[in-house]
């Protein structure tokens, strides 16, 4: 009993301390003008990315290492990155109003911008870069080409204007354009060799490359010709690849590095706060990433909608998210749309869906009834999971326990990333725990991953659902937010009623940093706001 009381006191104390540190951090960030100078050392929680070309890669390791060297056309507002609708110009002079019934976007490009080699950056470079992303030449890979199905052509009629012509007007275009990987490259370099940027860095961003040591670190120094007045504040930065979490926590503790920008689990945050007090500031945010339960519709008995519904009904997301948030990077319950978006379901709307009900006992009774009706009350199956602790294995273990409460016997098969992806792609699984992780919150584009396998080849549910395709197609062409929201609810309800897949608990970003790091604001994605231009050191 005494032990429990002590434990509660400790938790309360820790929460108060954390609250104080968070408040301190928030107040300190607001106070004072940015100071110039200093070198920021941060860690990238990975072993180094594949190539250096943001257009072709998908891993954050590439972005965290290279974003400070590049400019983009538009971006999420770095001073308000938690907003899902606040976009602003980077290389353009002002956000354009679409003309031609929403089919034409004409961007004016800043004058006097220079690449790091001193050559001028013009609209020709912007158009060439975007054409590489949207309409890649044969033999050139573009990881996010499919996000731009609406784009018909990209041209630069003169050195200061870039024109995007769309095939249809859509709400997804502007957020898609704010893709943080959409670096602006030199047309001259691209004309010489379309693959040049895979092994070289040369942009027009706030920092110039000084050194890149494969798998070890990347360093940059201030670009004196940077076009945002006064920025960057830092003299330079050092980014060190550090895949092991204990190293990263220790390094922040010993001030070998100031922070990492992805996320640390709650235990690491609590440890750092406990040990460093006011020397640590924590920023936290809901994350545009989450886990997804995917039953393989081609495998019996998961071809039966009743069995799939029972799977979802058995899960107590509300209580689960609350409990798991103490040990894992998890917090908020949400539907298929990121909870911070205007297109997301409200709590009341969510609670009407299967797997989100407020009365878990009633839901589990219904799950048992459905399993009995389907003749599957003693069902045994294997959950395919990825060999990653945070949060895959934790969520997987929780799910196994939740399913046991309706009589299901579930074992967990945890495999490395390659075999995990291969099993899902080949359909060699019964139920899988996968992830959905996006960068800019772009709900209509983001939910494209839920489309049936015959449309979205990387949907591993292996189901067909023409109704979903039809709703999504209408949504994609809708330009009114309210109408798009109604369609989104229809789309979400359809996925849910058919129990195709279930989003289970959104991830939660926890970024503890040395308190002298100022100016950076957390966003709902570890891909955003990473050019370091607004960061300064209060040392």
């Amino acid at each position: 009993m005494a032990h429990n009381r002590d434990g509660r006191c400790l938790s309360l104390g820790l929460m108060l301390m954390l609250g104080a540190v968070l408040m301190f951090g928030a107040n300190a960030a607001l106070a004072g003008a940015p100071k110039r100078g200093g070198i920021l050392t941060y860690m990238i929680p990975a072993d180094g990315g594949p190539s250096l070309d943001g257009h072709r890669e998908t891993t954050f390791a590439v972005l965290h290492a290279t974003a400070p060297f590049y400019s983009v056309l538009i971006r999420v507002n770095p001073d308000n990155p938690s907003s899902t609708t606040d976009f602003q110009c980077d290389l353009c002079t002002e956000m354009p109003q679409p003309t031609d019934n929403g089919l034409t976007y004409r961007f004016k490009i800043r004058k006097g911008v220079k690449f790091h080699d001193g050559s001028p950056l013009t609209a020709q470079d912007v158009a060439a870069s975007w054409n590489k992303i949207v309409h890649p030449q044969p033999g050139v890979a573009s990881a996010r080409e499919s996000n731009f199905v609406m784009v018909d052509s990209i041209t630069a009629p003169d050195d200061e204007t870039v024109v995007f012509k769309l095939k249809f007007a859509t709400l997804t275009f502007v957020p898609a354009l704010a893709d943080p990987y959409a670096y602006i490259y030199s047309k001259k370099k691209l004309d010489q060799d379309m693959h040049w940027y895979e092994k070289n860095i040369m942009g027009s961003g706030p920092f110039k490359l000084t050194e890149y040591q494969v798998g070890q670190s990347i360093k940059g120094e201030r670009n004196p010709d940077y076009y945002h007045p006064g920025q960057p504040y830092l003299d330079g930065f050092v980014a060190i690849f550090a895949p092991k979490q204990s190293v990263r926590t220790d390094a922040i503790r010993a001030d070998r590095a100031a922070l990492e920008f992805r996320s640390l689990p709650p235990s690491a945050r609590d440890q750092l706060v406990r040990e460093l007090h006011d020397k640590i500031t924590v920023q936290e945010s809901d994350w545009n990433c989450g886990n997804v339960v995917t039953p393989n519709h081609q495998k019996k008995p998961f071809d039966d909608v009743r069995v799939r519904q029972a799977l979802f009904l058995a899960i107590d997301q509300w209580k689960g998210a609350q409990a798991l948030s103490k040990i894992a990077i998890i917090k908020t319950v949400g539907g298929i749309v990121f909870p911070g978006s205007p297109l997301a379901a409200t709590k009341e709307e969510l609670q009407k869906l299967i797997g989100y009900g407020p009365d878990i006992e009633a839901a589990r009774a219904e799950a048992r009834r459905l399993l009995r009706e389907a003749g599957q009350e003693h069902l045994e199956f294997e959950l395919l999971n990825r060999n990653v602790d945070q949060p895959y294995k934790i969520v997987g273990t929780w799910l196994v326990d939740e399913w046991s409460k309706v009589g299901l016997k579930v074992s967990q098969k945890v495999v490395p990333t390659g075999p995990w992806l291969d099993a899902m792609r080949s359909g060699d699984f019964t139920v899988a725990l996968e992830a959905n992780c996006q960068n800019v919150v772009n709900p209509i584009a983001d939910v494209g991953r839920w489309l049936p396998h015959d449309v979205q080849r990387e949907n591993y549910g292996f189901f067909s659902d023409p109704e979903m395709v039809e709703i999504h197609d209408r949504m994609l062409r809708e330009t009114d937010v309210d109408k798009a929201r109604i369609l989104m609810r229809k789309f979400e309800t359809r996925i849910n009623q058919q129990a195709h897949q279930l989003m289970v608990t959104y991830w939660y970003r926890i970024v503890p940093m040395r308190s002298y790091v100022k100016g950076w604001k957390i966003s709902p994605s570890h891909y955003l706001n990473q050019d370091l231009a607004n960061i300064w050191l209060d040392k």
Partner: protein, 323 residues
Amino acid sequence: MYRYIIKRVLLVIPTLIGAAALVFVLMRLIPGDVCVVRLGSSGGTFDPKAIALCHAELGMDRPLVVQFIDFVWGIMRFDFGTSMWSGNPVTTEIWARLPISLEIAILATVIAIAIAIPLGAVSAVKQNTWIDLVVRLFAVGGTATPSFWLGLVSLLIVLNVTSAVFGTPWMPPIEYVPIWQDPIHNLSMALLPAVTVGYRYAAVSMRMTRSAMLEVMQEDYIRTARAKGLINKLIINRHALKNALLPVVTLIGIEFAFLIGGLVVTEQVFNLNGVGRLFVQAVQNQDYTLTQALVMLTVIIFVISNLLVDLLYAWLDPRIRYA
């Protein structure tokens, strides 16, 4: 002697080809491939066209036999290809990591030898005394303690002690700088991992030294030396220890070769960008070319260190002749 060396070097060729064939087949038995990991591991959506393009770029759409012939032909020309993950030549990838792994291996070996041989010898000479007991306890501790655990604990101790003493926690640097650029930075990074690895290494070598010494001390020539009236120090140093070192040298050779690519977890714990970490990374990313090259490197290091150990034998025991 030279004929022996040439024969040994030539034997490396079939060993390498055998290892190459084995790793080629084993790597491809793992489900998935580098393109899928590269595009799918971040949890976002990706275009299946990009996978097909990636396969074509890396030549993975060709028949396996063609890929194998290409690989073996490359080895024969000392061309190990480019990393499927990074696109860099594998020699660049390995060369970037070799110095730190080599440095840790050398430092750990020096620490191990400096501890193992004197303590092993003393333990044998003072058999069944309290000194022997302490040394054996130290050795058992070393063999029973995984070096990665010791690494984690030693880091925590350093952090906590420096925090308590100086008020600010300190830990070794996490970024490698070559010793000729900044010796203090370099050694403060390398010393702790070398000690944690060297402790286990020393423990194993110490046990071997002790048992070899005990065996040698029973030999007739030791008894003869005593009968001749030689002083104990001379008997131990000149007659016993030198002869007892043969199995210890073999062990040190094998351990050293292992350390070059085998510090998988220790390199992770101390954030050392070494060959061991690269090995894990290559396997995780299913980077066939890099894994194959790393296996080749490990085989070569083992073969060379075994060869050097064999040559050392002749110096230690003049009765051994390779002609």
